[in-house]
Structures are given as structure tokens and as C-alpha cells.
């Protein structure tokens, strides 16, 4: 990807809301969480929102790190492996009870599946299909507006 800081944030928020939202709806009932579906959805959507909110901060860090790259690009692999620090942070905050709105406990395996599937879907869409509906997106640093 060839993002600007604004483009990074816009793309993240849009893709998490649309692609992340759809994927969360689909996988919610399949997650190994022994709680009513309404609770599962509440927890997974709160996690999704946390990834979006915290991610805005992460994007500042990524943008800063990108300045050391001559090409000022963000290789495809970076977009995938950044899932690890981001996922770990959300999980730690979850365990510390620092994410408001979570009901009960989200099991680690359910969290890993939820987080990984959403991340993978967002990453895949950002690296190709996104260019079909948004023909100007890739030339505008990932900005949608």
C-alpha cells in the first residue's frame, strides 16, 4: 500500500466498519463462546471498535516508521504482521478489563479466531478488491473522502 496518514486512518475505519462488521456478524455464532448470541455480538463488536480506536493510534506509529523507508510505502507483509502487536495489545487490555462494554469473559481461542479472521478479511480486501468500487482510493493515499 501507498498510504498517507489520513488515508491510513480512513481506510482502517471504513474497512473495519464494513468488512469487519460483516465478518463479525457471520462468525459470531461460530465462535467458541458459551454465552447467548446477543452477548457474543456485543463482545465481538466492542472488540472490533477497540481495534478501530486503538488502531488510529497505531497508524501514527506506522506512519512514523514509514518515514525511514526510502519508498515511503507500506509493504503488503507489514499490513499482515502488524496484526500481532495489535492483537496482543487488545488481548492484554481485555484481560485487564480495560475495554469498556465487555460482558463476561472472552476465551482466548475465541478472541484469536475472531481477531485473525477479521484482520485477514480486511487485509485481503485492502490489497485488491477495494480498488474496484473505489477507483480513486489507491491514487489518493487510501483516502475515501
Amino acid at each position: 500500500m501507498l498510504p498517507t496518514l489520513g488515508g491510513r486512518i480512513q481506510t482502517r475505519l471504513f474497512l473495519l466498519a464494513v468488512v469487519g462488521g460483516i465478518v463479525t456478524l457471520i462468525i459470531g455464532p461460530l465462535l467458541p463462546i458459551s454465552a447467548p448470541l446477543s452477548v457474543v455480538y456485543q463482545d465481538t463488536f466492542v472488540i472490533l471498535a477497540a481495534v478501530a480506536v486503538l488502531g488510529t493510534g497505531w497508524e501514527f506509529l506506522y506512519h512514523f516508521l514509514m518515514q525511514w523507508r526510502w519508498e515511503k510505502d507500506w509493504p503488503t507483509l507489514f499490513g499482515l504482521v502488524t496484526a500481532i502487536p495489535e492483537g496482543v495489545l487488545v488481548w492484554l487490555l481485555l484481560r485487564a478489563g480495560a475495554i469498556p462494554g465487555i460482558k463476561g469473559t472472552v476465551p482466548t481461542d475465541a478472541f484469536v479466531i475472531d481477531f485473525a479472521v477479521v484482520w485477514l478479511a480486511v487485509w485481503l480486501v485492502a490489497n485488491g478488491p477495494m480498488r474496484v468500487p473505489f477507483i480513486r482510493w489507491r491514487f489518493h493515499g487510501g483516502r475515501l473522502v
Binding site: W68, T76, L77, G142
Partner: protein
């Protein structure tokens, strides 16, 4: 002066050579002398004195000259990949074929590109230097070349390479043959041939009352008059490189000795060098440190290994890069052994990210300084080339040196270059010298551009090329509601740097199409149209 193309002009080889290599180089900064062309008699169907002299033409002037006029709302001049990509966008935006005319001496848009890639050692099975998502045959860049190759060849290798590039693998780049095949398919899909009019464009002049006239010299015998005129509201100019120049000392040597065999340009046919290397021991001198030098070097090294040859290669760099270079830690490009390394011809983000955004805001000297920082000759770091060069350095058959050539002379059948190095003058004898520098000619050396500079009021940008707006509208060329757009190499130095690339042409095409939509020429491609049109592209249905 004979300026009417004959049937032979369509031949790819001869056309490519004539268009790209300029054999006689005017002195530096010398203004191009345009000999006063005598006007033809009124009613002859040719350019009269009145037309040649006037900056603005009236409909009556064309009638008096007897030149037939055809009305087309948009004319694209050039007919190469720049015209193709722009017209592709417009067709996808819903413009009918009868509203566009492409005036060109090329039979198909990739003709010159195919010629240049072939002679500069990129035959169809080899990979060009272009990104996976830079598809001139697909305005969305999806599926990318890597995905298409993975599906077509039933292999995950291209996708894996895109995943780990450029950290753990070289950048993925598509094969030339795949690019040409895609262009051919898309040309058929958008009915490119219906819009193409063969001939040589002679000039573009403003029309009194708005719009423009484009004068075309059609193929000999194809029309009753020597000239045809196209009256258009919008002009798109994509004439490509105005021409290439030799290094001055190479040109002088060639002219003095009338030797076009031993001193060659990498951009013209030079297969005889590789053939000669297969028959006897040769010393070949390479000049230049860009992608073409790398390609020629690869061919020499490949042939050496494949046929067990003993070719010695002396590689002369004017600017010898020894290590990473740049003004500070966050602006440092990699380099070694003479080369500056960069995946593509500009840092990647000029095509859509941070650098594109920054450049868009810079004017004058600041923009020129940024171009200088990002510019300079460079070539990609490819693991295969690195291993071949290392082997050559260790075995002593590949030598690099830094310097400039003071003089070239013939001595016992060898071409001796007197190289001024930091250690003094060094004489380097070679059987062949291959110029891979790719110096570009001034835009005024292109006839249509020279006429435009003289008669329309267009100016030059900080790098001396055509001065375009962010929308690629040519500044100073407005004529009532009419607009001239320019894209490609002639606009280098503008608000967008990567103009002479596949993706750069698409960036320009998008800006032009959007500007034309604002002016009511076509519809702006929105989300739903884009999806619908992509589905048509995927099913190979007409737009």
C-alpha cells in the same frame, strides 16, 4: 520536405528506430531551427502561408486552403500507451467511439513500447520493471498481474512473492508477454481500432471561437488531399518521448568514423554485438547505470554462462554509487558497486501515497529540488543480477569504473575511450561500446510540440517540459471552452512525478477523465458504475 507517411511507416522496427533515436544532436541549449516552410496554394488541400503563420485559425481559413474538416469532440494525439490508457478510462466512463479520434502512425498502442523493450533486452518471456497492480489494460489494477499469473499458471509463487516483497524477495514484476496480451484484449474490448486514424500529426492550432484544429497528414494515397483537419473541443496529447540522444562523445565518434556498428545505443537494434560475442573473445564497454544497462549486462552475462563465452565487460559509471545515499536518515536510497537501487523508476509512493501528496503541493524551485532528490539514474536490486555480477567481479571479467570520457578514438580495430577518473586518465579499449544512458531530447525537438510552443502560449515546467495543471490541463493552451491535456514523458516535472509509467498514465487518465466530467464531456465514474464496469471487464464485454 517530405512529411507524408508511407505504408512502410507502420513497420514496428523502422518506426521505433526513427521515433526514438535521434542521430544528429544539436548543440546544447541550441534552439531548434525550424526552416520556414513555404505555404501551399489556396485550394490545394495543403497548409497555406496564412495557416502556417497564424496562431489561431478560422473555419474559413481551412475552407480556403481546401483541407477537409472532420468534427470529433475529443482527439488524442499519439496513439501509444498514453492514448490507450486515457481512451480506456473514457470508454469505461461511457464515451462512445464516435466521440473520440486517436491520431497516430502506430498500428497498435504498444507498438513502440514492444519495440523498445525487445531491443533493450526484454523479450516477451522476460519481466518488465513495473508493479503487479500497474495494469494499463485494467483501470482498477485488480486482479493484479501477480494474481492473474497465479490463476493462469496455477501456482502460488507470484502471490507469495507479492506477500514478501521487497523485504524477503525482489519486487514481483510481470512478464512483457502478459502485458502485451492484456493490452490486446482490452484494445479489442473497447473497440480501439474504430477510433484510430492512421497518419502523422503535423500540428495543433487554436480555433477562433473555441476549440482546436489538428492537422493530420494521412498515409500516402489514402485521401484526396495531402492534409486532413480535425476540429475538436478537447485534445489529449500523449506523444511519448520526444527522442533519445547519444552521449556527445559517442555521437561525435559515430559521425566522424561513420561507425554505427561498434558504437550502439541500447535503444536500437544491436543484436550483432551478442552474435559477435558468440564467435570470438570480446571486450564490451557499457555506459550508464540504469535499468537498460542492467538488462544489457544481464544479457551479456547470461550468454557468457549459457554458451561458455569469454566476454569481458567494462562498465563505466559517470556517478558511481558506493553505498546508501541521501541527505538524512529518512531520505536514504540503497546503493552499491556503482548502482543506485530502487524498485521502480521513482520511489513507490509517488504513484499514490505520501510523495504524490507532497509533490502536488510544491511549486517552482521547491518542486525541482524534490525531483532532484528522488531522481538520478537507478536500477532495481535483483538477487539474480547481484549473484551474476559478484561472480564476474571475482573472476575479473566484469569491471566497473567511475569517470567521464574525454575522447574516443580507433586503434587497431578497437575503440579506445580515454576515461577521466579520480586517478587520472585511463585508456579503455573495447570491441563494442553500448550506450545505455537513455538521454532524452528536448521537447522542442518533437515537431508537434515545437509548433505548440511557438503558436499556442504553452510554457515549460521547472524541468523544462510541458507545464500542466494538477488535472493535466496544458497551461496556456486554453481556447474558449476547449482544453488541451497532456500526459506521459513530455509532462515530467509537473505536480505528479511518475508520468512516464503505466500507473502514471493511469493517474493522469483519471485526472483527465474527472476534469472532462466536470466540463460535461462524460460521466464521472462513481462507485456503482465502477463495479458494473469491472464486471464487464471481467467478462470481456464491451464497456
Amino acid at each position: 520536405m517530405i512529411d507524408q507517411p508511407t505504408a512502410g511507416a507502420g513497420d514496428a522496427g523502422s518506426q521505433g528506430q526513427q521515433e526514438t533515436v535521434q542521430r544528429v544532436r544539436p548543440a546544447a541549449n541550441e534552439a531548434v531551427v525550424v526552416t520556414a516552410e513555404p505555404g501551399a496554394a489556396p485550394g490545394s488541400g495543403d497548409l497555406t502561408d496564412e495557416l502556417l503563420r497564424s496562431d489561431q485559425w478560422t473555419d474559413e481559413m481551412l475552407r480556403t486552403a481546401g483541407i477537409p474538416v472532420t468534427d470529433v469532440p475529443l482527439v488524442s494525439v499519439g496513439g501509444g500507451i498514453g492514448s490507450f490508457v486515457t481512451v480506456d478510462y473514457l470508454r469505461i466512463a461511457g464515451v462512445r467511439t464516435d466521440r473520440i479520434a486517436i491520431l497516430s502512425n502506430l498500428d497498435f498502442p504498444w507498438q513502440t513500447y514492444q519495440y523498445l523493450t525487445r531491443v533493450s533486452q526484454i523479450p516477451r518471456p522476460e519481466r518488465i520493471r513495473s508493479d503487479s497492480a500497474s495494469r494499463p489494460d485494467n483501470i482498477w489494477g485488480f486482479p493484479s498481474y501477480a494474481l492473474a499469473e497465479a490463476i493462469g499458471d496455477r501456482t502460488l509463487a507470484p502471490l507469495w512473492q507479492v506477500l514478501i516483497e521487497p523485504i524477503f524477495a525482489d519486487y514481483y514484476t510481470p512478464k512483457a508477454g502478459r502485458v502485451f496480451a492484456g493490452l490486446e484484449r482490452e484494445a479489442k474490448r473497447i473497440e480501439y481500432s474504430k477510433m484510430l486514424v492512421k497518419g502523422q500529426v503535423r500540428m495543433i492550432r487554436k480555433r477562433q471561437g473555441g476549440g482546436y484544429f489538428v492537422i493530420l497528414t494521412p498515409m500516402v494515397g489514402s485521401t484526396p488531399t495531402k492534409r486532413l483537419a480535425y476540429r475538436a473541443e478537447f485534445i489529449h496529447l500523449a506523444v511519448g518521448y520526444p527522442g533519445l540522444r547519444y552521449l556527445p562523445e559517442l555521437q561525435e565518434f559515430r559521425t566522424a568514423h561513420q561507425d554505427f556498428h561498434h558504437v550502439v545505443s541500447a535503444y536500437e537494434e544491436h543484436e550483432h554485438v551478442y552474435e559477435a560475442a558468440r564467435t570470438k573473445h570480446l571486450v564490451v564497454m557499457l555506459r550508464g547505470g540504469g535499468i537498460v544497462a542492467s538488462r544489457v549486462l544481464q544479457r551479456l552475462m547470461d550468454d557468457r554462462a549459457k554458451h561458455g563465452l569469454s566476454t569481458d565487460i567494462v562498465h563505466l559509471f559517470r556517478t558511481y554509487i558506493t553505498t546508501s545515499h541521501g541527505p538524512n536518515a529518512w531520505n536514504r536510497r540503497k546503493g552499491a558497486h556503482g548502482f543506485a537501487y530502487q524498485g521502480f523508476n521513482y520511489p513507490k509512493s509517488v504513484w499514490g501515497g505520501q510523495l504524490k501528496s507532497e509533490m502536488r503541493r510544491l511549486e517552482g524551485d521547491q518542486r525541482a529540488a524534490k525531483y532532484k532528490l528522488m531522481g538520478g539514474t537507478n536500477t532495481p536490486f535483483r538477487r539474480r543480477w547481484q549473484s551474476q555480477m559478484k561472480q564476474g567481479r571475482e573472476a575479473g571479467w566484469y569491471r566497473t569504473m567511475a569517470g567521464t570520457v574525454e575522447e574516443m578514438r580507433l586503434d587497431q580495430g578497437m575503440i579506445v575511450s580515454c576515461v577521466k577518473t579520480s586517478a587520472g586518465l585511463v585508456e579503455v579499449p573495447a570491441d563494442f561500446v553500448i550506450d545505455c544512458t537513455g538521454l532524452e531530447a528536448d521537447i522542442a525537438e518533437h515537431r508537434v510540440l515545437a509548433d505548440l510552443l511557438e503558436h499556442s502560449g504553452v510554457g515549460r515546467n521547472p524541468l523544462g517540459r510541458l507545464d500542466v495543471e494538477r488535472t493535466f490541463e496544458l497551461r496556456g493552451a486554453g481556447s474558449g471552452p476547449g482544453v488541451v491535456y497532456a500526459s506521459g514523458a513530455t509532462t515530467l516535472g509537473g505536480y505528479f512525478p511518475g508520468v512516464d509509467t503505466f500507473l502514471g498514465l493511469q493517474v493522469a487518465a483519471q485526472e483527465i477523465a474527472d476534469d472532462l466530467a466536470r466540463r460535461g464531456f462524460c460521466r464521472r465514474i462513481g462507485t456503482f458504475r465502477s463495479i458494473r464496469q469491472w464486471l464487464r471487464w471481467a467478462r470481456n464485454k464491451q464497456p
